[in-house]
């Protein structure tokens, strides 16, 4: 091989990219050829000089910090990601709490309505449906005095399709309550009256028609009392009777 051919391989030789066999041959040639050896030395020194001179530009430490924080999972975008994750977790907790409250309220409501429906059904099934038998509201109302810790007005029913049958004491959740019995076109209506409480208010709400075992139910609060009508009569009958109770309370 000529010196010119060898000199074309000197760069690859210095870059450690020449195949092993050729490296050995070139090594041998350089030991004997002053011209090629000088070329190799010069290029090697130039390579080393470029290595040093090429490292000319040094980044600003502030710039390094900026780049580091822009890619670090512990800062920057990841920090927002963390906040979003916490936000989602908080929202999930709030949803669970809210869902639980709704579920608890629904279950309280179902339990209350279930109990009151049972009381109404028990009354219907009883041979003695009421303890005070009278169609006169002025007889029925005084009967409850001293039996329940509150008082209430029984509406005037003259000229209405409703008829008062009487009333009796009952208990709801260990609290005394009044149960009045009415009929309308042979349908029996129980009107429960008891002291209102925040728990009852939350569970039963006000004015929303409900249904349980095909009975129509409506409940409302008035003057610290909680009223609840349950019957197999129509919702419009319930509304009618309710309006009369509301009127009587004025």
């Amino acid at each position: 091989m000529t010196c010119e051919s060898w000199q074309q391989k000197i760069d690859a030789y210095l870059d450690a990219e020449l195949p092993e066999a050729e490296t050995r041959e070139l090594d041998a040639h350089l030991r004997t050829c002053a011209a090629c050896s000088s070329q190799a030395l010069t290029r090697s020194e130039l390579k080393r000089s470029i290595h040093l001179a090429g490292k000319k530009f040094v980044p600003d430490p502030e710039f390094r910090k900026r780049i580091q924080s822009s890619i670090s999972p512990r800062t920057s975008g990841r920090r927002w990601g963390w906040i979003v994750e916490v936000g989602i977790a908080c929202a999930a907790v709030v949803l669970v709490i809210f869902g639980s409250l709704v579920w608890v309220r629904q279950s309280q409501r179902q339990q209350l309505i279930g109990e009151l429906t049972d009381l109404h059904v028990a009354t219907l099934a009883s041979a003695n449906r009421v303890d005070v038998v009278s169609s006169d509201r002025h007889t029925v109302k005084p009967w409850f005095q001293g039996k329940v810790p509150f008082t209430f007005n029984v509406p005037e029913l003259q000229g209405s399709p409703f008829e008062l049958i009487g009333g009796k004491m009952t208990y709801l959740d260990q609290n005394p309550a009044a149960e009045l019995l009415f009929t309308v076109r042979k349908h029996v209506l129980s009107v429960f009256i008891f002291k209102d409480s925040p728990e009852l208010d939350r569970a039963l709400g006000s004015g929303e028609p409900m249904r349980k075992l095909s009975f129509n139910i409506e409940s409302w609060a008035d003057g610290g009392l909680r009223f609840l009508i349950i019957t197999d009569a129509t919702p419009s009958d319930i509304d009618d009777l309710r309006a009369r109770f509301v009127q009587a309370a004025r």
Binding site: D15, E17, S38, Q39, I50, F57, V58, I67, I71, P73
Partner: protein, 178 residues
């Protein structure tokens, strides 16, 4: 798509040791500090975004440099700096320069300013391949990967770049002695 925490940690662990080198290369390419910072910043942003598709086991340094270079080439400065490198696959076309003598190069080698000035005068394609080989000490395979060119082209372009570098240094030394 956002990287998960482990992947983002891995990216930080792999990429930050390359920061100084990438910055140095960026300033050699752009010749401007502010542009170099923009280039590096964009490179890291693109690399972080694309790290999910990076194949583990392949060369991360070459991958990062490829992103930096492609970003540079599509920038305004990069488009201006692009030069035609026709017929570069012919390594036989490389021959010793008339102005290049071992003596003149020995005079220049210790002169860092002369080397830096010569590097700056080189076309971008020559400058970058010399920097990747001699400063970054990349293998020809790594350079091929970074520049997305065949190894044969790496060898021929490197030979032409070094020849141009030696000519520039030779001219500088001769000019200084006139």
């Amino acid at each position: 798509m956002a990287l998960d925490r482990d992947k983002a940690n891995e990216f930080e662990h792999l990429s930050m040791p390359l920061f100084a080198s990438l910055y140095n290369l960026a300033q050699w390419l752009t010749q401007d500090r502010s542009e170099a910072e923009d280039l590096v910043q964009e490179t890291y942003a693109k690399a972080l975004k694309g790290f999910g598709s990076f194949q583990p086991g392949t060369n991360f340094r070459a991958w990062m440099y490829r992103i930096l270079r492609n970003t540079f080439l599509t920038s305004r400065t990069g488009l201006k700096a692009t030069v035609s490198l026709d017929d570069e696959d012919d390594p036989q076309s490389v021959s010793p320069s008339t102005t290049e003598t071992p003596e003149s190069l020995l005079l220049a080698r210790s002169d860092q300013d002369a080397i830096q000035s010569a590097l700056q005068q080189l076309p971008v394609a020559f400058r970058e391949i010399i920097l990747l080989c001699d400063v970054e000490e990349m293998t020809y395979r790594e350079i091929a990967e970074a520049l997305t060119i065949p190894i044969g082209t790496v060898m021929s372009r490197l030979a032409r770049a070094r020849k141009a570098m030696r000519q520039l240094l030779g001219e500088k030394v001769q000019g200084a002695h006139r």
